[in-house]
Symmetry: C2
Subunit: 64 residues, 2 copies
Amino acid sequence: MGRGKIAIERIDNATNRQVTFSKRRGGLMKKARELAILCDADLALIVFSSTGRLYDFASSRSVS
Amino acid sequence: MGRGKIAIERIDNATNRQVTFSKRRGGLMKKARELAILCDADLALIVFSSTGRLYDFASSRSVS
DNA sequence: CTCACTATGTATAATCT
DNA sequence: TAGATTATACATAGTGA
C-alpha cells in the first residue's frame, strides 16, 4: 500500500524502520480497537519495539 | 472500506457480527505479523470472540 | 453456514515541508 | 528530523452462490 509496494521482510534502514513501526503500530492499535467494538470481542495487544519499548492495547468489554 | 461505510459500534445482527469478526480477525493477525517482520518487533495478540473462543498470534524474533 | 467476488473505504510508502 | 500530504496498494462491506 502507499506509493510503492514493499516486500514483507525486515527493513534494513533504521530510520525508515522506526518510521514504519510508528505508523503501523498506530494502524494496528486502531484495527484492534475497531474489532473489539464492532464484534464485542475481548482483546489484548502487546508490542515491544526493537529498541525494547512497550506499547499495548486492551479492550474492556465488561469492566468500566 | 468495502462497498459501504460502517460506524464503529457493536454490530447488532449476530450473523453479520460473526462474519465481520472472522474477516477482521484475519486482517488484524496479518497486520500484526507484518509489523513484527518489517520492524523486527516482538508482539503478542490475544482475541476472545464474543462466544468465548480464543485466537492468538505471537511473533518469535529470537526463538525458533 | 462458508466461500468467492469486487466496488469502495482505509492504511500507508514515498514524498514534501 | 518529525509532522503533513498524497498517490497507491490493501482490507473489507455488501453481495451472490
